[in-house]
């Protein structure tokens, strides 16, 4: 299947990667290729539809008629928030499990069945949305009951979700086998991260099935009534949970790529693993974020769940925010690439798009995505964010910069190390992450600004022209202009990735399987010796990381204060 590789396997079906040292079996590698390439196809489609959506919201262009807007928005959302993400995440599970553990992928046919169901589900969702007619409305991502969408849409969702669950089973089986064979042995950190990712995913996917199977029955006429409040509560298990899969997968990739490309090591197994366990228990509670400005659910439920149990999961995020750069700092200091406070960072391989995409992902996710998620999830602050353009501003920061950049970085190395091809286009690959990150970051800032400071609503094609009213959001026009231009550049940056990826697959020359030698700095860090006297990670300086995280923390505090100040200027609400 998909024999585009130049690699040979031994009689047992294994090969050893010259760069990572991983022992990789063909069964796993075949499926990583299949799911990985499919996710990039989804990225291309979703990105193309981004053009229509952005150029409609920028009403100077006003590309689509209002009636079509919601359909295009639906396709854009499903292809990027779900298909680009989930297909890649199955590939990531197979890398984090069988690749890292040096195992076969068990139940390969189950994996194939899962893939088939996911593709079938995606096709049905697309067809149902594309051919919809009144009385059906576009489902968008949320398909809020009782607004009716085509019956086929709900069926497609059920098939897709089932497929993803099925595709996750071989990964779980590989972990099961590993633990059974070596019961007193810890998993490598990346495999542990992948395991946590899979459980968070199962919660989300099963929650989605619990939501969408009854919804399908309702739409098809077998269930007379479906409660709107219950639907919202259950929907968001898959709605936000799917995005938490993105978070876990992204962080796992951060550990992986900073290690392979930058020489990062583990700063503390104890701290990183504890953080993953905090995520395991608490991260999906954040589905409650979407119900902050809702009736029905109690204040206690809202505050406990939205805070991920008193911010247990935020502690986890902040731990990884330190641990990952720290691992890079320690690893590079040990290799004499240290040099002062930040030499370890400046000397890193910034021309390598796998590396730069990873670091840009970390920065943008942290500063733009993570902070805003915590803030808008605070019950009262949510009132100023809810259903404004600031909401997509937040999740474009987390998903379109954070997770997407991490997946692009991984994609560059799947091309090199799994497909065995080197990137076409020379400098194009080097600049692509920077172009995309900068432009998309600006898009996010504009959306947040428009939503918070002008109250511009999300999911609206015509805020400058409200039929039957003289009121409009005209003062926000300059920001829409910046948004529009930045969006064009971001889409260009995304298209560039697809072009490089597809071009590499089709025309790339063979990759010889080594990373370029890095030149050590003259006064690089502490001395490192092999053998029993070598320093443990904690003994190396982490002062560079500490400064960076303190800058992040202070930014967080300032943004938090500004948000609460903005809320305090609103009129009096509540008892």
């Amino acid at each position: 299947m998909l024999d585009l590789a130049t690699y040979d396997y031994d009689d047992d079906g294994f090969r050893t990667c010259g760069v990572t040292g991983l022992r990789i079996h063909k069964s796993a590698e075949d499926m990583v290729k299949l799911f990985g390439v499919t996710s990039i196809v989804a990225l291309a489609v979703g990105g193309a539809f981004a053009l229509f959506v952005a150029m409609t919201r920028w009403e100077v262009i006003g590309l689509l008629p209002p009636g079509d807007f919601y359909q295009y928005l639906t396709i854009h959302a499903w292809y990027l928030l779900i298909f680009w993400m989930v297909f890649m995440e199955i590939a990531i599970l197979y890398v984090g499990g069988p690749f890292v553990l040096g195992r076969r992928l068990p139940l390969k046919r189950v994996s194939g069945a899962g893939y088939g169901l996911m593709v079938l589900g995606a096709a049905i969702i697309t067809w149902g949305t594309w051919t919809q007619e009144l009385p059906n409305q576009a489902p968008l991502l949320t398909s809020y009951v009782p607004l009716k969408s085509p019956t086929s849409f709900y069926l497609g969702v059920d098939v897709f979700l089932l497929g993803a669950v099925v595709a996750a089973v071989p990964f779980l089986a590989s972990i099961w086998q590993e633990k059974r064979e070596t019961p007193n042995q810890a998993l490598p950190l990346i495999a542990f991260g992948a395991f946590i990712t899979s459980i968070v995913a199962l919660e989300a996917l099963v929650g989605g099935l619990i939501t969408y199977v009854p919804t399908l029955l309702w739409r098809a006429g077998f269930l007379e009534h479906l409660d709107a409040a219950w639907y919202r509560q259950m929907y968001w298990i898959i709605g936000h949970g799917s995005q938490q899969i993105n978070l876990l997968a992204m962080i796992t990739i951060w550990y992986f790529l900073t290690h392979v490309l930058g020489g990062a090591e583990v700063a503390s197994e104890k701290v990183s693993r504890t953080a993953f366990v905090l995520y395991l228990f608490f991260i999906n509670l954040g589905a409650a974020h979407h119900l902050m400005s809702d009736p029905a659910v109690s204040t206690g439920w809202r505050m406990w769940n939205t805070s991920y149990a008193a911010y247990g999961a935020v502690i986890a995020s902040m731990i990884h925010a330190f641990a990952i750069p720290a691992g890079l700092e320690v690893g590079r200091r040990r290799k004499n690439k240290g040099g002062g406070t930040f030499g370890w960072l400046w000397s890193a391989p910034w021309k390598d798009p796998g590396f730069s995409a990873t670091i840009l992902s970390i920065i943008l996710f942290g500063f733009l995505g993570g902070t805003t998620g915590v803030m808008m999830g605070q019950m009262q602050l949510n009132m100023t964010w809810h259903n404004t353009l600031a909401t997509p501003g937040h999740f474009h920061a987390t998903v379109a910069t954070g997770t997407t950049l991490a997946f692009m970085g991984l994609g560059y190395y799947v091309l090199r190390l799994v497909f065995g091809r080197d990137w076409i286009g020379g400098i194009l690959a080097t600049i692509q992450p920077f172009l995309y990150a900068g432009a998309m970051g600006l898009v996010c800032l504009m959306m947040m600004y428009l939503g918070l400071l002008f109250g511009v609503p999300r999911r609206h094609p015509s805020v400058m022209d409200i039929p039957g009213s003289a009121f409009d959001f005209a003062p926000s026009k300059p920001f829409f202009a910046v948004f529009g231009i930045a969006a064009l550049l971001a889409i260009l940056g995304g298209a560039l990735f697809v072009v490089v990826a597809v071009g590499t697959l089709l025309f790339g020359s063979e990759y010889d399987g080594t990373l370029p030698e890095e030149t050590p700095l003259p006064d690089g860090g502490a001395s490192a010796t092999d053998g029993p006297d070598s320093k443990a990670a904690h003994a190396f300086s982490m002062r560079g990381t500490f400064i960076l995280t303190m800058v992040f923390f202070l930014t967080f505090v300032v943004l938090y204060a500004l948000n609460w100040y903005l809320l305090s200027q609103v009129w009096t609400i509540g008892p």
Binding site: L147, D294, S307, T388, G455, W564, V570, P575
Partner: protein, 186 residues
């Protein structure tokens, strides 16, 4: 290489390895920040002026529509800027969202008075998104669900015109839903 790779299985007792001093400090900062923001959110319910806390009632959509209609019937009217606005008889203000308009709007209120807003939808989910015309940053959004009536107290210190748009997609006429709340000064 002696450093621990995230691709390798850690050996022996990895729990009792020392943690870097700065990393430990960061853990403390993270914990303190988590406690701070949790406490702040909780505390604002006691000392802050903006808390979307109010009782919810299960009310079938047709019944809620009747409630709104009764309220409109009992209310006065006033002409503001060429529009006929509802003047509530008491402190209750009913708003009913429907495909595609706002029952109960426009309404005229007095600045500084505390009103009990009743929010509900007649058909599908809608979004009650309210902002002050002369300062668009003064804006909030609340969800309106069919089958539920949400009572929420509100009082407006700043007179002027406030505009309501629907910000939950509710079908083809979604973008046409616009309403007004006039707040009269003293």
């Amino acid at each position: 290489m002696p450093g621990q790779s995230p691709l390798d299985r850690p050996e022996g007792d990895w729990w009792n390895t020392e943690v870097n001093r700065r990393e430990t400090l960061w853990l403390g900062i993270s914990g303190a920040w988590a406690a701070t923001i949790f406490g702040w959110m909780l505390g604002w319910t006691q000392v802050g002026d903006q808390n979307q806390i109010g009782p919810t009632y299960e009310v079938p959509p047709e019944q809620y529509q009747n409630k709104v209609q009764s309220y409109v019937d009992e209310s006065g009217t006033a002409e503001i800027a060429g529009e006929e606005a509802i003047v509530p008889a008491g402190e209750d203000v009913f708003v009913g969202a429907f495909q595609w308009g706002w029952d109960g709007l426009p309404v005229v209120l007095d600045a500084g008075e505390t009103y009990t807003f009743h929010l509900g939808a007649y058909d599908v989910q809608h979004g009650f998104s309210l902002r002050r015309e002369s300062n668009l940053s003064q804006q909030i959004s609340l969800q309106m669900l069919p089958g539920y009536e949400w009572e929420l107290e509100m009082s407006f210190d700043d007179p002027g015109t406030y505009h309501v748009v629907c910000n939950e997609f509710c079908g083809t006429g979604h973008r046409t839903m616009h309403g007004k709340v006039f707040v009269r000064g003293d």
